[in-house]
Symmetry: C2
Subunit: 127 residues, 2 copies
């Protein structure tokens, strides 16, 4: 019997990432197995943040608010994936578009650049 390490491809890793939080549950253990501990995240409100912990709190909030997830476009190469999608959220209420660019190396998602229109989020933060 040959034991074989079956590392996920970059594409499979990003698929697993979305499966872990867009299907009515939030699988934190799964996400921690996919994301680098020192993940570099950039987003419109967060700016640049290093570390999976702070990022996972944000993903949990969006996951809890998510009613529907619709993929629009997805591109990938050996170590990068870009995804454009719409999410129907309860908070901020409505349909929001997201672009997410992933960098994968050594079996982990190392960096995520997330973009969305922060307008409704800034209103929530100010209220």
């Amino acid at each position: 019997v040959i034991e074989q390490a079956t590392a996920l491809t970059a594409s499979e890793m990003v698929t697993a990432y979305y499966e872990a939080w867009t299907r009515g549950t939030f699988d934190e253990d799964r996400l921690r197995s996919i994301l680098a501990e020192d993940l570099v995240f950039e987003g419109p409100l967060a700016g640049r943040r290093v570390g999976a912990d702070a990022f996972l709190r944000g993903v949990r909030d969006v996951s809890n608010a998510l009613k529907d997830f619709r993929l629009i476009q997805r591109l990938e190469n050996e170590d990068e994936v870009s995804v454009l999608y719409d999410g129907d959220l309860t908070r901020p209420a409505g349909t929001h578009r997201f672009a997410e660019f992933f960098s994968i190396r050594d079996g982990r998602i190392r960096a995520i650049n997330l973009l969305y229109d922060g307008t409704e989020w800034r209103k929530l933060a100010a209220s």
Copy 2:
């Protein structure tokens, strides 16, 4: 002499698109040769708009306001390209991040999904 129709690839078309408006000039003729007349554009403030004309007015505004363009990530396949970049603008002043997803078919850019944080643009529109 063999005359050869050298159609641009999807990648070359998107490169030509950015060259036409990010290098200190706005080459409308070049852009019209790249974009489908019935281009389908979606953006945070515009919503969904069909037609190259309205889109080109928006590109001209951004081109005129652009001080610096910095590519962050770019992915491509045979008929799609996604680009993440920062633009330093005079109006709205500051550095703005953009994600742009292109669909190319039959030698033209047919659809562009553009995403950015509309916060500062909404302030301009309201002022």
